[in-house]
C-alpha cells in the first residue's frame, strides 16, 4: 500500500508539471501586449512596463520563466497580480465559497441520485424504473447553463420564490439552488450507476444466500446489497468533488456566486496571468489528489482489491 501511494505520488509530478506548463505557456505566450489597458485610459509608462517585465521574468525564455515561477510556487509564493494584490489573498477569499458550493452540490447529488438509483434498481422494468431512466436522459441532455437560466428565470424572477442571485456572503442556504443546478448532470450519472450496480448485485450469490437463510428483506437490501453496490458510486462521487471545484464556472456565472470559477473566468479575460496559473495549479492539484484518495478509498471499501 505504501509503495503504491509513493508510486502514484511520483506519477503525479510529471502530470502536474505538464498541465501547469501548458497553461503557463498559453497564458503568458499570447501574442499581444500583456499589459495593455492596465494603466487606465493611457498607454503604460515605460518604467511600469520595464518593472513588470522584470517582476514576471518576461525577458527570459518561456522555460526559464516557468522554472522560476514553479520554484516560487514551491516556497509558497503565488506572486502578485499586475495591480499588486497577493494572488494567495484572492484565492483565500474565493476558495471557501467554491468549496461550500461543491459540498452542497455533492450532498444533493448523492441524496437524490442514490435514492433514485436504489428505487429503480430494486424494481426492474417497473413504472418508477422507467421514470428514473427517462428523467436521467433529460438531465444528461440539458446543458447546465440552460438548467441554470431557466430555474433562475422561472423561480427567481417570475415567481419570486428564490433570490435570483447569491449575495456576497454566499451562505449554505443561498447555495442550495446553485448547488442543485451544478449537481444536475452528475445526479443523473449517479442514479444510473447505482441502478446498474444494484441490478447486477441483486443476482449475486451472497444476496441469494442472505435471503435463503431467512434474513428480512430490509436487512438484505440495507446491509448486504447496498454496501457492495455503493462502492463504485462513492468513487464516482469522490472524483466529482474534484471536478466541481474546477468546473463551476458556468453555474457561478449565472447565479453570481463569488467563487473561484468567476474569478478565474475574469482573470483569463483580463490576462491576469499570475492569477490564472496559480488557480489552475491549485485546481489540478486538488483534482489529482482527489483521484488518488478515491483509488485508496476503493481498496479500503472493497477488500478484494489489493494494491501492490
Amino acid at each position: 500500500m505504501g509503495r503504491y501511494v509513493l508510486r502514484r505520488l511520483l506519477q503525479m509530478v510529471p502530470v502536474l508539471l505538464g498541465t501547469t506548463f501548458l497553461i503557463y505557456v498559453m497564458v503568458w505566450a499570447v501574442p499581444g501586449d500583456p499589459f495593455a489597458g492596465k494603466c487606465g485610459e493611457r498607454a503604460c509608462p515605460d518604467a511600469y512596463i520595464t518593472e513588470m517585465r522584470e517582476r514576471f521574468n518576461l525577458d527570459d525564455p518561456v522555460i526559464v520563466q516557468y522554472g522560476k515561477y514553479m520554484l516560487n510556487l514551491l516556497s509558497g509564493d503565488f506572486g502578485e497580480t499586475s495591480s499588486g494584490v497577493q494572488v494567495i489573498d484572492r484565492i483565500a477569499d474565493t476558495f471557501p465559497v467554491t468549496l461550500r458550493l461543491a459540498l452542497v452540490a455533492l450532498v444533493i447529488e448523492a441524496v437524490i441520485g442514490i435514492t433514485a438509483g436504489i428505487v429503480s434498481g430494486l424494481r426492474n422494468r417497473g413504472f418508477l424504473d422507467s421514470l428514473v431512466l427517462v428523467s436521467t436522459l433529460f438531465l444528461i441532455s440539458i446543458p447546465v447553463f440552460v438548467t441554470g437560466s431557466v430555474i433562475q428565470l422561472v423561480f427567481g424572477i417570475q415567481w419570486g420564490v428564490i433570490p435570483p442571485t447569491v449575495s456576497s456572503k454566499a451562505t449554505f442556504g443561498e447555495l442550495i439552488v446553485p448547488g442543485f443546478v451544478l449537481a444536475s448532470l452528475s445526479m443523473a450519472y449517479v442514479a444510473r450507476l447505482t441502478r446498474s450496480s444494484i441490478a447486477e448485485n441483486r443476482r449475486a450469490d451472497y444476496v441469494r444466500t442472505a435471503l435463503a437463510k431467512g434474513l428480512p428483506q430490509r436487512r438484505v437490501v440495507g446491509v448486504h446489497l447496498l454496501r457492495n453496490s455503493l462502492i463504485p458510486v462513492i468513487t464516482f462521487l469522490g472524483t466529482d468533488l474534484g471536478s466541481f471545484l474546477g468546473g463551476a464556472i458556468v453555474t457561478e456565472g449565472i447565479f453570481n456566486v463569488p467563487g473561484v470559477g468567476g474569478l478565474i473566468f475574469r482573470s483569463i479575460q483580463t490576462k491576469e496571468g499570475a492569477l490564472v496559473t496559480g488557480l489552475v495549479t491549485l485546481l489540478v492539484l486538488a483534482y489529482l489528489v482527489m483521484t488518488l484518495l478515491v483509488d485508496l478509498l476503493y481498496a479500503v471499501l472493497d477488500p478484494r482489491i489489493r494494491y501492490e
Binding site: Q11, F138, S141, Q152, I157
Partner: protein, 326 residues
C-alpha cells in the same frame, strides 16, 4: 428473469437428446433473427438486429435525420434571412409571421434556429471524428506495443485529462482568439481543435484497455506465431475487435460535444458572429432573459432535443453492442 429459464431449457435440451442439440445448432440462434437462419452473424450485424427492434433507436434516428437535413438544406424549412435584423421589431413575441418571435437585434428566431443547426452539427461531428481518430490511434499503439511508448502516451493523456474541461477550453480559446478578426471557418476550426485537444484522452484510454485485453487472446497469438507484422495484427485483428466500445463512446460524445460548443459560445469564447449557432443565440439572449425569454428558450429547446437524440442513440447502441446487458 428470462435468462435463467432459457439457460435451464437449453441445459435440459443438451442433457436430453443429442440429435436435438445438433438440430438446434443448425437452426442457429433463435429470437429476432428471422432472416437467414444458416448464416452466422457477427457482433455488428447482431447489434443491428437488436437495434431494429427498439423504438428508442428509431425515434432518436428520426430526430437526428431531421436535424441533419436542417443543417444541410435550411432553405427547405424557412424562406426568411437569418442575418437580416430589423430593430423596429426587436424582442417581439411569437406571431404568425415569425413563429418563434424576434430577438433583441430584430432577427427572426425561427430562421436563426434552423440555420444554427449547421454550425452546431459541424462542430459536433468534426470534434468527435478528430478526437476519436486521434485517441484511438494513440490508444491502440499504446495498448499493443506497451513499454515506454505506452508510458509516454499515457502520461500525455493524463496531462490533458487533468485539465478541467471548460476551464481548459476557455484558456485555449482565449489564446487563439487573441488575434481577433477571424473568419467563420477559423472560428469553427478553433472550437473543434480545443474540444479535440481536451477530449482525446477518453477515447485513448478506452481503446488502450480494449487493445490490452484483445492482444492476449489466442487469435492474436496465433497471428503472431504465423509471422504477421505488427501493422497487420493491429489493422486486421485488433482494430475490428476493439471498435465497439469506442463506437459507443463516440455516439454519446457527439451529443456531449454539441452541448459543449453551446456552453463555450454561451461563455462568449466559442463560436461568435458571423457564425450562427444555438450557443451564439443563447449567449445573445441571456442578457435580455427578463424581457424576452423566448429568445433563449427556443434555441435551448432545439439544443436539448438534439443532444437528447444523440444520448438516446448512444444508449441504444451500447445496449445492442454489449452482450452483457442483453
Amino acid at each position: 428473469m428470462s435468462d435463467p429459464s432459457v439457460a435451464a431449457a437449453g441445459a435440459a435440451l443438451t442433457a436430453g437428446a443429442a440429435d436435438q442439440v445438433t438440430a438446434a445448432e443448425h437452426a442457429g440462434p433463435s429470437g429476432g433473427g428471422a432472416g437467414q437462419p444458416d448464416k452466422p452473424r457477427g457482433l455488428f450485424s447482431d447489434a443491428w438486429v437488436e437495434l431494429r427492434h427498439r423504438p428508442l433507436f428509431w425515434i432518436s434516428a428520426l430526430v437526428i435525420l431531421l436535424v441533419v437535413v436542417m443543417a444541410a438544406f435550411p432553405q427547405l424549412f424557412t424562406s426568411a434571412d437569418p442575418t437580416f435584423g430589423d430593430l423596429s421589431r426587436s424582442r417581439q413575441g411569437p406571431s404568425a409571421q415569425a413563429w418563434f418571435g424576434y430577438d433583441n437585434q430584430g432577427y427572426d428566431i425561427y430562421a436563426r434556429v434552423i440555420y444554427g443547426a449547421r454550425a452546431s452539427i459541424v462542430v459536433g461531428v468534426l470534434a468527435t471524428v478528430g478526437a476519436v481518430l486521434l485517441g484511438s490511434t494513440f490508444g491502440i499503439l499504446a495498448g499493443y506495443f506497451g513499454g515506454w511508448l505506452d508510458a509516454i502516451l499515457s502520461r500525455g493523456a493524463d496531462v490533458f485529462a487533468g485539465l478541467p474541461f471548460v476551464l481548459g477550453s476557455i484558456v485555449i480559446l482565449t489564446t487563439l482568439n487573441a488575434e481577433g478578426g477571424a473568419g467563420p471557418v477559423r472560428i469553427v476550426a478553433q472550437v473543434v481543435l480545443s474540444i479535440m485537444a481536451l477530449s482525446w484522452p477518453v477515447s485513448m484510454r478506452i481503446m488502450r484497455s480494449a487493445a490490452i485485453t484483445a492482444k492476449q487472446q489466442d487469435y492474436v497469438k496465433a497471428a503472431r506465431g504465423l509471422g504477421a507484422s505488427p501493422r497487420r495484427i493491429i489493422l486486421r485483428h485488433l482494430l475490428p475487435n476493439c471498435l465497439a466500445p469506442v463506437l459507443v463512446y463516440s455516439t454519446i460524445a457527439l451529443g456531449a460535444f454539441i452541448g459543449l460548443e453551446a456552453t463555450l459560445s454561451y461563455l462568449g469564447v466559442g463560436l461568435r458572429q458571423p457564425v450562427v449557432s444555438w450557443g451564439v443565440m443563447i449567449n445573445a439572449a441571456k442578457d435580455y432573459i427578463r424581457v424576452a425569454p423566448h429568445a433563449l428558450l427556443f434555441p435551448a429547446g432545439f439544443l436539448t432535443v438534439t443532444v437528447l437524440a444523440f444520448v438516446m442513440l448512444g444508449d441504444a447502441v451500447r445496449e445492442a453492442l454489449d452482450p452483457k446487458l442483453r
